[in-house]
């Protein structure tokens, strides 16, 4: 059964690596930021799967911290004036 959980985590890592393309390409700041949000959600799922797959129950707590902090960067992004605007491509 453990092998299945690890395989599932590997699959999620691959989807995250695919989503990285969106961070690289953009084109707008919002696109990049929401891709980072995706890594938060997928990261939580990966940590939960690894907690069972590697038999490390402490990883559930790491997943909890991921869940709490994944929104912090997004809120900082939205609240901060002066970051590249959505309208045009930034320099």
């Amino acid at each position: 059964m453990n092998a299945i959980w690890i395989g599932a985590a590997l699959f999620l890592l691959l989807t995250v690596a695919a989503g990285m393309v969106r961070v690289l390409m953009g084109p707008r700041p919002g696109d990049r930021m929401l891709a980072a949000q995706l890594f938060g959600t997928a990261g939580v799922a990966m940590l939960l799967l690894l907690a069972w797959g590697l038999e490390m129950p402490a990883l559930v707590d790491v997943a909890l911290v991921f869940a709490l902090l994944s929104a912090v960067a997004t809120v900082a992004f939205v609240r901060q004036r002066g970051l590249p605007r959505e309208g045009g491509e930034e320099p």
Binding site: T15, R22, D31, L34, Q37, L49, V75, R85, G87
Partner: protein, 114 residues
């Protein structure tokens, strides 16, 4: 492998399908707003299914509640964060987006595809 393991395997695999759909939607959808749709719905549902599959393997009640708590946290913080990103995108230009409100116009072939 008992029937319970079978059920949780099915749940986790269907969760993975939704995660794949979320990533694919993020790559294929044409603009920020539609990508946010893919992110909020598909990924949160995927995480919910993975967590549900693991809940069936959890030995104790507090662990079950902890997984539910994690899912709810991700659900609400993710939805709020997506709302904020969408609001920022709307207030800071993205002029073509208003044109999409006209149902007569086909909003295909907008900027930012691919």
């Amino acid at each position: 492998m008992g029937p319970l393991d079978m059920v949780s395997l099915i749940l986790v695999v269907s969760g993975l399908v939704f995660f794949a759909a979320g990533s694919l939607g993020m790559l294929r959808f044409p603009d920020v707003y539609t990508r946010l749709h893919a992110l909020t719905k598909a990924d949160n549902l995927g995480l919910g299914l993975v967590a549900l599959g693991l809940i069936l393997q959890a030995g104790s009640l507090p662990l079950v509640l902890k997984l539910v708590l994690i899912w709810l946290l991700v659900l609400f913080s993710g939805a709020a964060a997506c709302h904020l990103v969408a609001q920022r995108a709307l207030t800071q230009g993205e002029p073509e987006s208003e044109a999409g409100a006209d149902p007569a116009r086909q909003p295909r072939g907008r900027e930012g595809r691919g």
